[in-house]
């Protein structure tokens, strides 16, 4: 589904990703772990199409297409979804209105019929139940005045409504208490599907107790320096990120 090859990315002249390669197949859950500043969020933003990132080398193929050539909305319609680390507050834009406009824009781009307000509300009600979100949130402005936990759950809720093929969760666990963390994880697990892949970016292993990944990758200094199964996350938690570098000094230095 997704093939990242030797990706080099700069922001403002500074190289953040330095030859990252990763392959994600449908149905898989990949966790990307790593210390602050390793380039984790850069990866998420580049995949979603945020401007300000300069790709100097490498390629990203998504379902055989050159993902980097696509506008963010085209990527969204093709099934790419980024759950933001810092969801943006948009005063004056109603949550329901926004989400319906987004869903219908995607459906239109895919040549599917748009949902009328009745069909949409039915869908929203279903998904709200799964996420255990208060329905009032839907009548407020997008993320405005939401608590940290509500914002993150709203991201997962949007994901549930938009039903992407490739979901990238950028530190969705940060700032969440344990109850909110569990709810977010339940929401994600409910969406796990043989046709859908997840990239879960996180600093801590905690979230991975609830969303059990198929693969764990350690991102350090702009590259994936170690890959393994779910077990790797626990080792990292026990030993810290320094342990990876010590264990693989030669490769980490390349």
């Amino acid at each position: 589904m997704l093939k990242i090859h030797n990706l080099h990315v700069r922001i403002g002249g500074r190289e953040i990703l330095k030859g990252l390669s990763l392959q994600v197949n449908a149905g898989e859950v990949h966790a990307i772990m790593g210390p602050n500043g390793a380039g984790k969020s850069t990866l998420g933003n580049v995949l979603a199409g945020r401007s300000g990132y300069e790709v100097t080398q490498g390629s990203v193929a998504y379902e055989g297409r050159d993902l980097l050539q696509l506008e963010p909305e085209v990527r969204a319609a093709a099934g790419v979804f980024l759950a933001f680390q810092y969801p943006v507050e948009i005063p004056g834009v109603n949550n329901t209105y926004f989400l319906r406009a987004a869903l219908n824009a995607q459906r239109k781009a895919r040549g599917e019929s748009e949902l009328d307000s009745r069909e949409f509300l039915q869908l929203v009600r279903e998904k709200l139940k799964v996420m255990q979100l208060p329905p009032e949130l839907m009548n407020r402005a997008v993320n405005e005045g939401f608590s940290g936990g509500e914002k993150k759950r709203n991201e997962i809720f949007q994901m549930a409504v938009l039903e992407p093929k490739l979901a990238i969760l950028d530190e969705t666990d940060s700032g969440l208490d344990i109850d909110a963390l569990k709810q977010v994880a339940e929401g994600v697990n409910a969406l796990r599907d043989p046709k859908r892949a997840f990239i879960v970016i996180t600093h801590y292993q905690r979230l991975l107790d609830y969303i059990v990944p198929d693969f764990v990758h350690v991102l350090a200094d702009g590259r994936i320096v170690e890959s393994g199964g779910a077990q790797l996350a626990q080792e990292l938690e026990a030993h810290g990120y320094a342990w990876v570098r010590e264990r693989k000094p030669a490769e980490a230095a390349v």
Binding site: A77, F81, G92, F98
Partner: protein, 437 residues
């Protein structure tokens, strides 16, 4: 007067003053014209005209009037508004049109008539209003209006009368045989405890050039309440000046919405005097400009009575090479203790070529006062734009959604709901597509 007279001044001087046959009125008009001619057009050295240059206007001459305005065929859909089906007074190129107006069966307590008819039938009650010296003699266009306006709207609401249906006053600019100038003068008075809702509508039948100069005085007696929407959707080629003076007596309330969309050069002057104790004004306004439009809003509020309140929220959006100017000045006069004055003006620039100059000003002459004002000029939040696009909204739709949300606060409170939605749609429709330069 110098030997070389600018074409604009010359064309105005050449315009024959409207012949009324009323000695005091002819004298007042001659005097007003004299005031205009000796002062000339304001230039950039004039503090209130700092950002609006009139050099281009000065070089243009206009026909004194549209001779065929009273018979010109006009499509009523050019000024129809959803939710508005009450009394209606229509002027086409500054001339009253009975055939397009709805002034029969006015609700009890409401009197609406064209100025032209009132002058023909019974001018004496208007003597005071029309013959006194123009208050703001330094304002060239108000003088010019006093000299040349032959028509307009006279509206009076009897004490205690609450008029339910909005009164629709239309100034329609229609393409004429030449490029015409017109001037309209209106007076609106609400008696004690009276209530009225007015939609003043600058509408266009075409994209032609013309010069329109509108002046209106509003008098709100004790405890009266006026809800006013000025919807400026003039033709793309129009030069439009709208001058409004408001006087509020004790406990009177004014809720003003202003939407500035059309015109090539538009200037909206709003002067509000909170004379009476506990009088209150709420102003909400938005200007949305594109291509090479220039719109200048001048909002001057004076707190004169005790415990008076003013609350103003304005939003501006400019795209292309448009230029917006907002001057919001609040003065709290001596004796206006307990005044509460709030003013906020936020602006969005959608292109590099657009410009908005905002100057909030606060002048306070008393100790006991609550006042705050603020103004910003910024760009669309790139983070918000990316957020919306990452969910699938095309760039253009995302931009429009954000701009619309930005302006929403200025439109909120417009009634009825159909009219609110219409204004929202007009604003959106007026904003350019991304590919437009």
């Amino acid at each position: 007067m110098s030997a070389v007279v600018a074409p604009f001044i010359e064309s105005m001087r050449a315009a024959a003053l409207p012949a009324s046959g009323i000695a005091w009125l002819d004298a007042a008009r001659r005097e007003a014209m004299q005031t205009f001619l000796s002062a000339g057009l304001p230039n950039a050295r004039h503090e209130l005209w700092k950002y609006t240059a009139l050099r281009a206007l000065e070089q243009r001459g206009y026909a004194a009037r549209d001779e065929n305005a009273s018979t010109r065929i006009v499509d009523g859909s050019a000024f129809a508004l959803p939710g508005i089906d009450g009394p209606q007074l229509v002027l086409v190129n500054g001339v009253f049109r009975a055939d397009l107006s709805r002034l029969n069966d006015l609700p009890q307590g409401l009197s609406v008539q064209p100025l032209s008819r009132a002058l023909a039938e019974n001018p004496e009650p208007l003597r005071f209003l029309l013959s006194r010296r123009v208050q703001e003699s330094r304002d060239a266009f108000v003088s010019l209006n006093a000299a040349l306006a032959a028509d307009g709207a006279l509206v009076r609401v009897a004490s205690g009368a609450e008029i339910e249906k909005p009164l629709h006053i239309v100034h329609l600019g229609a393409p004429a045989d030449s490029i015409v100038a017109w001037h309209a003068r209106s007076f609106i008075e609400l008696g004690e405890g009276a209530r009225l809702h007015i939609v003043e509508h600058d509408a266009a039948a075409g994209e032609h050039a013309h010069f329109a100069n509108l002046a209106c005085e509003y008098m709100l007696q004790k405890n009266a309440r006026l809800d006013l929407l000025t919807l400026q959707d003039a033709s793309a080629g129009a030069t439009l000046l709208r001058h409004g003076e408001f006087h509020l007596h004790e406990d009177a309330q004014l809720a003003l919405h202003a939407l500035e969309l059309g015109g090539a050069l538009a200037r909206h002057e709003i002067r509000i005097a909170l004379d009476g104790d506990r009088s209150r004004v709420d102003t909400r306004g938005a200007y949305a400009l594109r291509s090479r439009q220039h719109a200048d809003t001048e909002l001057l509020i004076e707190h004169r009575g005790r415990d008076t309140t003013s609350d103003s929220l304005w939003r501006g959006v400019a795209d292309g090479r448009a230029r917006g100017v907002f001057h919001g000045a609040i003065t709290v006069r001596q004796g206006a203790d307990g005044a509460d004055a709030q003013l906020s003006n936020k602006n969005l620039l959608l292109s590099e070529g657009a410009e908005i100059d905002t100057r909030p000003a606060l002048e306070i002459h008393v100790d006991e006062v609550k006042a705050a004002h603020g103004a910003t000029v910024g760009q669309l939040d790139e983070r918000a734009l990316f957020y919306l696009r990452s969910r699938g909204l095309p760039a253009e739709a995302a931009r429009m959604l954000l701009v619309r949300a930005f302006c929403a606060v200025a439109l909120s409170g417009i009634e009825p709901n159909e009219l609110h939605e219409h204004c929202d749609a007009l604003l959106l429709a007026h904003l350019p597509r991304e590919d437009e330069t």
